[in-house]
Each structure stands twice: as C-alpha cells, then as structure tokens.
C-alpha cells in the first residue's frame, strides 16, 4: 500500500547554515499512530513543518497522501491537519469563528454540523461563543485541535499535543486520538512523555541531531531492546550474592531482602528457570516474586545517549 507520508532523502539547512535535518527517510502507513521521539532541538518540529508547508525543504522529496508537497501542494495540504507545538491563537476571535475560519481556509464549504461535532468531542461546545483569550491554556490547545480537525483531514500532525496539559485532559486526548484512528485518520505525534508513545503509538521513530536513528514497531522495540527484571523477596536476608549465582546478572538489594535478576526478555524462559532451580538447590526461600519490563523511557534514554 502506498504510504500516507513518504519522505525521501530530506535535508534542511536553515538560513544561518545550521543543518537541522540530515537525509531523512521515513514512510508512514495509512491509519497508524506514529510517535516521533527525540530530545529538544532534534528536528521534530522542523520535519513536521516541512511536510505541512510552513518551512521550505533544502532538498529531497516529500509526499502526503501520494501528492508531492511542492508540485501538488493543494492536494497534499488539503489532506493534512496540524496542531503546532506553540499555542498560537487569534485572541479576539470566538471559538466558533476561529474553527469555521480554518475550515474555509482549507477549501471546504461551511458545515456547521461538523464543527458542532468537533467542538462537542473536544468539550468546547459551551465555550463556542467565548473569545479565545478568555479560555484557559488547555482549552486553547483544544481549540487548536478543533481547528486542525475542522476540515476533516486524513492525516493529523500533533506536535507535543499534551505539553502543559493536565492528566485528565491528557487521557481525554489519548482517547480522542484513538477514536480518530478508528475513523481511519493517520496520526503523527511528537512527545517528550515517553509513556504517551508507549500508551498510544503503533510505531516509534527516534530522531537525534537531525537524523532518524531508529524506526520500529512499538511492541517489537520494547521486546527487542527491553530488559526485564525479576525481583525475588527473600524470607531471610542475605549478606552477599551466593557463590552459585555470581556468574549470573544478579544483584542484591541494600537491605539484603531482595535478589534482582536482569535479563533480556527474549531469552527469558531459560534464564529464569535456571535461576529459580539454583535457588531451590541451595535452599534460599522466597516469599514473593515479580517481574518488570523496562519502560520505553529507559530504552529511549539509552538510545539518545549512545
């Protein structure tokens, strides 16, 4: 299937000579949720801005919904909705007018029923006649989302949609993004909250200093790079790791009550079974055991600092 977004050999050098993107190649599949992760200044916003037509590319080729973003910019842009990172809104407009304006700008005839639905979905309906400056920050961000959805885009970019948003609203947004995906919208989001990517994304791309260093299915990424931890709560404290286990990746907690075994999730069975057998053999009893997968956050920090 043709990708919804296709980026080939994309480079961006800003006017001051700074190269913000280096030979980016990326395909985004129709209907997926793609999370773009990377530290500050990695080039996430630059990449999104080029795809959306806000920043000029230096070289390379970008297509949205099969249309070249320069040669067929109308067709390409019609398909895209963008929620930018910065909260930029027309303070003096009412919510309703601002959202209707966006729809018109993207070449769609007025459709009050659709605007009403979008505003209701985003819990903005009560505020439709308020001026935007009279809204809270979180509401303003929802207005920006409403503007992006006003013209029924099939591709939605969310550049740090949940920065500075409270926990409840963040949950609501995740919910909304999932619903959109069910409707067939392709979603590309950037975030600094790793749990967000973990919670929502189908695939994850990591960008560092203008280069994509990894693109992977989230689940595969987690299992490929993820470490698991087995923690055993002991009946009796130990003073040191028993001699039989010194060759294994085993540590003892400070209070001596816990044995911590770290292993690659792929080889889990063999290692865990062997460990437990050995413990039985040498007569160490445990009350409880639990395993924990390392989070995407740890994977991410590991990658970015490599």
């Amino acid at each position: 299937m043709q990708p919804d977004i296709s980026v080939k050999h994309l480079n961006k050098v800003y006017a001051d000579g700074f190269q913000a993107l280096k030979d980016i190649n990326l395909d985004i599949t129709r209907g997926e949720i793609f999370a773009l992760l990377g530290p500050n200044g990695a080039g996430k916003t630059t990449l999104i801005s080029i795809i959306c037509g806000i920043v000029n590319k230096s070289s390379g080729e970008v297509k949205a919904a099969g249309h070249d973003i320069v040669k067929e910019y109308r067709k390409a842009r019609e398909t895209i909705g963008l929620v930018p990172q910065e909260l930029n809104t027309d303070s003096f407009e009412t919510v309703w007018n601002a959202v209707s304006f966006s729809r018109g700008l993207f070449g769609k005839p007025a459709n009050p029923a659709h605007i009403e639905k979008v505003l209701k979905d985003l819990s903005l309906w009560d505020k439709r006649n308020n001026r935007i400056m009279a809204l809270s920050g979180g509401m303003k961000r929802r207005v920006m989302i409403a503007k992006a959805l006003s013209h029924e885009p099939r591709i939605l970019f969310l550049d740090e949609p949940t920065a500075g948003v409270d926990v409840e609203l963040r949950r609501d947004m995740w919910e909304m993004v999932r619903k959109l995906r069910e409707d067939g919208v392709t979603i590309i989001l950037t975030t600094h909250y790793i749990e967000e990517a973990e919670e929502m994304a189908d695939r994850i791309g990591v960008i560092r200093q203008g280069e994509i260093i990894l693109v992977e299915d989230k689940d595969r990424l987690m299992s490929k790079l993820g470490k698991k931890e087995l923690r055993l709560q002991l009946q009796q404290p130990l003073s040191k790791v028993p001699g039989e286990l010194v060759l294994e990746p085993v540590e003892l907690s400070d209070d001596g009550y816990e044995l911590i075994y770290t292993f690659d999730s792929q080889q889990e069975q063999a290692g865990v079974a062997r460990l437990l057998r050995t413990l039985g053999d040498i007569g160490i009893e445990y009350r409880d055991l639990r395993t924990r997968e390392s989070s995407l956050e740890e994977i991410f920090v590991g990658l970015v600092h490599e």
């Binding site: 959306c52 806000i54 109308r74 842009r77 003096f92 007018n97 018109g104 993207f106």
Partner: protein
C-alpha cells in the same frame, strides 16, 4: 481556485476591522474634519481660489488621498503583520491556498475598507464645503486603484516589518511627508521652479493630481500620466509580492 479560502481570509479581516471600527473609521474622519476646519474654513477663507476652485474644495481630493494612503497601508500591513507576530500565520502557510489567493484575501479586505472610508470622508467633506465631481467614474476608479495599490504596498511592509516600529515608520516617515509635499494643500505651480522639478519625483503628486482632475477637471500633470504612474507603482508592488512568495522571504524559513 480556493474560493472558500479567499472568502475565509477576507471575512476574517473584515471582522477584525469591524472590531476596530473606532480607530479605523472615526480617527481618519475626525482628523479630516480638523483639516477642514483649520485649512478649509479658518485659513481657507483668506486664501484666493486656485484654478478657480475655492480653497476648501481644492484640498478635498488631497485630504481623501492622505487618509486613503495611510489607512490602506496601515490596514494591510497590520493584517499580515499580526498573524506573523502572534504565530497564527502557520495556518495560512499550511493551507491549500496559493499566494495570489492569500493576497486577494488580505489586500482585498484592506482595500475594501479604504474605499468605504474614502467615501465616508467625501460625505463628511460635504458638510463643510460644496463640491462637484466632474468625472464620477474616474473618481471612483482612482479611489479603488489607489486603495488596492497602497494596500499591496502595506502588505509588503507588513511582511518586511519585524517589529512594531518598522510597521509605523514607513507611513510616518515616508508617506506623510510625500502626501504633504504632494500638492494636497497647494498646486505645484505655486512652487519655485526647482521644487516643481523635485516634486515630479514624488509619486503622490500624480495620485493627487489625477484624483483632483476627476473632481474638477484641472490637474498639475496630465491625467494619463497620473494613471500610468499609479499603474506602474501597482505593478512594482505586485512584482515584489511575487518575489516574496517565491523566495519565502520572511514568511517561510
């Protein structure tokens, strides 16, 4: 053509101007009234006729031009500067609109407002002096042409400006002197020879002269030249805007 897009921008701009009705209509009308009181009635009553036209009537075309130029520039420059300043420009840049459509939306709205304002000022002037319009069609054409041209010019300034001072500086430092020295209050025949020649380099002389011709049939320079010069300036503005959008100057990094 993305007509819905043009309409959205146009309506948005008209709504913005509606919100600032006080500044945008009241202040030019008030300042024009002041000019009429001071120059038309008080001083004008002691002035002889120029080209057989009473002084009060003589200054009307120039005063309308003064407001038209200032308002066209400030409306259009503000219209595009504000989204640039607040960051909302991202939406226009990411929308499926061509630059011609963007310009039609923004400049069209600014020019519309200038034309309306010009007509309001003309109606106000009627309260102070009796005047006739000899060539109403050409009067209106000059009104529209000037509004469009200087709204385009204002649009360019709005894109060029990277601060509020720059936004003000061109209307204040360049346009005002040009209008005052452009024959609003006198016929350039009244100037010493040297200054007459220098005046011919002032584009506003042609605007006011042509506009005055449409009113009274008298002009400092031939009306054809006036129209030609205005069209030339219009073309220069359009070429500049084409270049701005082609290169992304101050809009797309």
């Amino acid at each position: 053509m993305n007509y819905y897009g043009i309409r959205a921008i146009y309506r948005f701009e008209m709504a913005r101007m509606g919100r600032t009705l006080m500044q945008s209509v009241a202040s030019p009308v008030i300042s024009t009234c002041l000019y009429f009181v001071v120059f038309g009635s008080a001083i004008g009553s002691r002035m002889g006729d120029i080209d057989n036209i009473s002084y009060g009537a003589y200054i009307i075309p120039g005063l309308v031009m003064l407001s038209l130029l200032m308002q066209s520039i400030s409306n259009a420059s503000f219209g595009i500067y504000m989204p640039k300043f607040s960051g909302t420009i991202y939406e226009v840049l990411s929308a499926p609109v061509s630059y011609v459509e963007v310009v039609i939306g923004y400049v069209g709205a600014a020019a519309t407002k200038s034309v309306i304002l010009g007509l309001i000022i003309l109606a106000t002037a009627r309260l102070f002096v009796d005047y006739d319009v000899l060539h109403p069609f050409w009067m209106f054409s000059f009104l529209v042409l000037t509004s469009v041209t200087f709204s385009l010019f204002g649009f360019i300034i709005g894109i060029w400006a990277d601060g509020f001072e720059k936004l003000q500086i061109v209307p204040m430092m360049i346009v005002t002197p040009l209008v005052f020295l452009g024959g609003t209050f006198y016929s350039i025949d009244m100037l010493p020879e040297v200054w007459q020649t220098i005046s011919l380099f002032n584009p506003v002389v042609y605007l006011i002269s042509g506009f005055r011709w449409a009113f009274y049939g008298v002009a400092d320079v031939h009306v054809g030249i006036s129209a030609g010069m205005t069209l030339m300036f219009l073309t220069a503005c359009m070429v500049t805007i084409w270049w701005i959008f082609r290169t992304g100057y101050r809009l797309r990094s």
